[in-house]
Symmetry: C2
Subunit: 555 residues, 2 copies
């Protein structure tokens, strides 16, 4: 299978060395790209899963679970096999030796074939992601399928590079002066860590899970996929394709299994501390991520948790562009991205623009107006905002309205197609620099704070303090001063946060492009690793060598 | 400085990709290599340090400490500045920004210049290592200087490769159909983790410390070097050279400091949990290594601890070569290497050879005779065995004599030059397979067990069980059966232990060659990382990016 996908892998290896623009899987859901019938077929396949037992033949199932509730208010009722943690681990261990012995090239070929199958099923995935996470269709398509597949390929490329940087065998010949040289043949085995566990999140079940899933799998580890109870279907579809490709390639399909559970089953925690589980990838809340880091001590633990994403506004030569750009960021998926900006720091005395000083109120007003405009027409807005993923976000939104002066109230929107969809526009609250007990925490959802600071120096100090304590995945700055930009860029390095500078066009602080942008840095409390780099893959396997004397005639 | 050393770095980068034979620093202490006067000058420089204040001008010293006692019984009495942990951390943090901003190429050049200075001072180092660790001169020279420098260069090469696999800047241009493309310039900063701590060991103060020291330093982290109280001088000399080169290059010498202490000062533990300390490299006992892994949670912790190194003897076509080879392994530095074989597993019914079946007693007898022969002439033997590093080894040796049938008694040897040297030959004790409470633990020192097993299948089972539980850095097997060799090689993979096969010549199971052999695997309890691979360096820094729109004319 690697022969079939060799060019793709080579191109991906080139891309991670250049980190310019490149994408392997088309992000346009156009019929010209995916075929005239792809959209309808995908929707039909998605619908065929609803109200039925999900077709997944794996060991140790104890009845079924059906835990998903669509933010769009449609009935899902997909029944998944309820996982027996011990049976999944046992099956994974039994499947491992042949997968390990197959070696990096074979494993890479099989993993790339899985990606090809997933790509061909992108419209099914788009529907599955949309109706479990609440994303709008376009985001569900792009983030759920091609962008997630790009991140998967990126992880495979890093892992393949890492596994093959040491040769499979080496000839070692040490001169001994007048005597015969010492000659050894050395063999270097890539040995996987053990069973890997991937714990998915509610909002981006594929995008956030694929890097860990494929990094672990390609390095030889069987993977148990534990989806969020609210977003099972996208990962169930993923597991199904993976199992089919593995079986076709002659491997045990139990190399990839689904661990669906009732929320009370505590399957994730049981698996995370199982002595055979040696790798855990997690995306989700800080409390559980911290618990994993503290307790899954037998494993390599890779976490992406909460953070407080910040934008510093110092000055601008394009206030309209700034407002348009930030407004889009806040409205997109109702701010339910781990990369969405929460805190916007603006000097209380206003900012410099080519048109002179613009007051704090005017800047804040431009941003709120931008959000209001984007969300004003419900029928169009819902494609941008999507729906609210779960009740926890609604509860948080209700609490946030009382935190300060409301600059823009959150509104329910009526969805033109799904009348029971739970749609909310962003809330924007004004705070002062002294309200660090509020803006110093993550308020996940359609909640943003515009914070009046004494000056940009205080904004930078707040940025440093909050991100040091709570972490961040993204940061932005607007300034026409090179000095200020340099200072913020130094601060961003100090708190290990990727920085977007003066974004006023079609690139947004909350979006990252595979093969070019790193997602998280692994250096602040928001995440202990980056998607995807050398450190993310290098410890998922170990190299174990053997050496023996080489007979002279072989030398 | 990188220009000066560019060829060396390039050759090292080639070597880690090939892992054949290569060495950068000559291992022969010949005057033809190091100069006619080098040996005498090195001895004189070493002696100039004795009974004096070690010349090291660094902040926060609180008086002096003198903790070393030579295994050769000579007076050392070197006085080192007694460390104030807080002052060293503060000085390291103050030194860091300029070192970070210098970038990978400048840092690599400075680090390679430090290695050049250390190499030029190899004879001083050889004496310092010999008289603190008890090693014989030849080992002290080779392991203390050129081999340690090779490992340092190897770590620098891996780290340089990792830091530069992501470009410093990238041009990102995403097509937008008929519209102008989106164009961004991206900058990728290599940002070090923070302050690094290196905790040295008593037996190989330089060889085991250099990889961590230079991996951390070249990736931008200031390094505090905490030597073992019994072997301070080799690392004090190292720190002195590092500080001089750093200052010459215009950097703050406090990027590398020495944390000498009285054993009761608990400086290592204070430093290890300091919030600013983000990397810890440790070589030493399991208990303290485990403590570090449990408690230094704010840091990346790299440990090399104890293990139970095992050799399985199934059959051989060269019993003499086997005995000569294993005998040398046991006698070298009186077994005080973390890689020395402890357990030799032999079927009670004997083994097959071309001359027919050879009984257990004969095989064991050939090994004990080989050790006895190597250690029979005290005047020559002491160069091989060296001296006993500290009283803990003597105590252990005394206890081990009572563990079973003594096949070879440990003997004191009189050193022809140093009458007070504490020299002991290896003890070899016979055990049975049931004595796992004895051979299942590490007995560090000149202590080996020959264990009578039911058959090779039981030997392999014992190997798996003991190494799974306690870890190992090395393993060996002797067999004429490809089937047995394959089975042991699979077992070695399962317990993540590097395997040497049928060594009967001039390569020994306890020796590893930089740029070719990995030291430890990082996959069993003996060590959580390998010297040196991608995983060892990739998490000592993070990449933090910034991105901004590129003006069209620049694009």
């Amino acid at each position: 299978m690697l022969t079939k996908h060799r060019d793709l892998l080579d191109r991906a290896l080139q891309a991670i060395g250049e980190r310019g623009y490149w994408s392997a899987y088309p992000e346009s859901p156009s019929p010209r790209v995916y075929g005239e019938t792809a959209a309808d077929e995908g929707k039909a396949r998605f619908e065929s899963y609803l109200g039925a037992d999900f077709p997944l033949d794996q060991p140790g199932s104890q009845g079924v679970v059906a835990t998903e509730r669509s933010p769009y208010g449609i009935a899902l009722d997909v029944r998944y096999p309820r996982a027996d943690a011990g049976a999944l681990v046992a099956a994974a261990r039994a499947a491992q030796p042949a997968w390990r012995d197959a070696g990096p090239a074979v494993r890479a070929g099989v993993c790339l074939e899985i990606l090809a199958k997933l790509s061909a099923d992108s419209f099914t995935m788009a529907n599955a992601v949309q109706f479990t996470t609440g994303q709008g269709f376009m985001m569900a398509f792009q983030a759920g399928a091609p962008h997630a597949l790009d991140r998967a390929l990126e992880a495979i490329a890093y892992a393949y590079s890492e596994m093959t940087r040491t040769p499979g065998t080496a000839h070692w010949e040490k001169p001994q002066g007048k005597h015969d040289p010492l000659v050894l043949t050395k063999t270097f085995h890539v040995v996987p860590r053990g069973v890997a566990l991937v714990i998915g999140c509610n909002t981006f079940p594929t995008w956030n899970s694929y890097p860990g899933l494929f990094a672990s799998l390609v390095t030889g580890n069987p993977v148990i996929v534990k989806p969020h109870p609210g977003a099972v279907l996208p990962l169930a579809i993923t597991v199904r394709h993976a199992r089919e490709v593995l079986a076709e390639a002659g491997f045990d399909p139990n190399l990839v299994t689904l661990a669906a559970e009732d929320p009370g089953d505590k399957v994730a925690s049981a698996l995370a501390v199982d002595p055979a589980v040696r790798i855990v990838d997690f995306t989700g809340g800080t409390a559980y991520g911290d618990w994993l880091e503290e307790n899954a001590r037998q494993a390599q633990v890779y976490t992406e948790k909460a953070g407080v994403n910040t934008v510093i506004i110092d000055s601008t030569d394009d206030l309209k562009g700034l407002a348009r750009n930030l407004g889009f960021t806040l409205a997109l998926y109702s701010g339910q991205m781990c990369t969405t900006t929460q805190n916007i720091l603006i000097p209380a005395g206003g900012i410099d623009t080519p048109e002179g000083k613009v007051s704090f109120e005017e800047v804040a007003g431009a941003i709120t107006a931008s959000v209001a405009k984007l969300t004003g027409d419900a029928a169009r807005a819902v494609d941008l905002t999507g729906a609210i993923v779960n009740d926890a976000v609604l509860d948080r939104l209700a609490r946030a309205e009382k935190l300060g002066e409301v600059l823009l109230a959150s509104q329910p929107l009526e969805h033109p197609v799904y009348p029971d969809a739970v749609v909310r526009t962003p809330l924007i609250v004004k705070l002062s620099a002294g309200d660090s007990d509020v803006y110093g925490e993550e308020w996940f959802g359609p909640i943003a704070f515009i914070v009046a600071t004494a000056d940009t120096a205080e904004s930078i100090r707040i940025f440093r303090d909050v991100v040091s304590a709570r972490g961040a995945l993204t940061a932005g700055v607007y300034s026409t001063s090179e000095e200020v930009l340099d200072e913020v860029e130094r601060a961003a390095q100090d708190v290990y946060t990727h920085l977007s500078v003066n974004l006023t066009g079609g690139v947004f602080v909350n979006q990252s492009a595979a093969f070019s942008d790193f997602h998280a840095s692994g250096g602040n409390p928001a995440a202990n690793s980056a998607l995807t780099d050398g450190a993310y893959v290098a410890n998922r396997f170990r190299v174990v060598q053997s050496r023996r004397h080489t007979a002279r005639e072989e030398a």
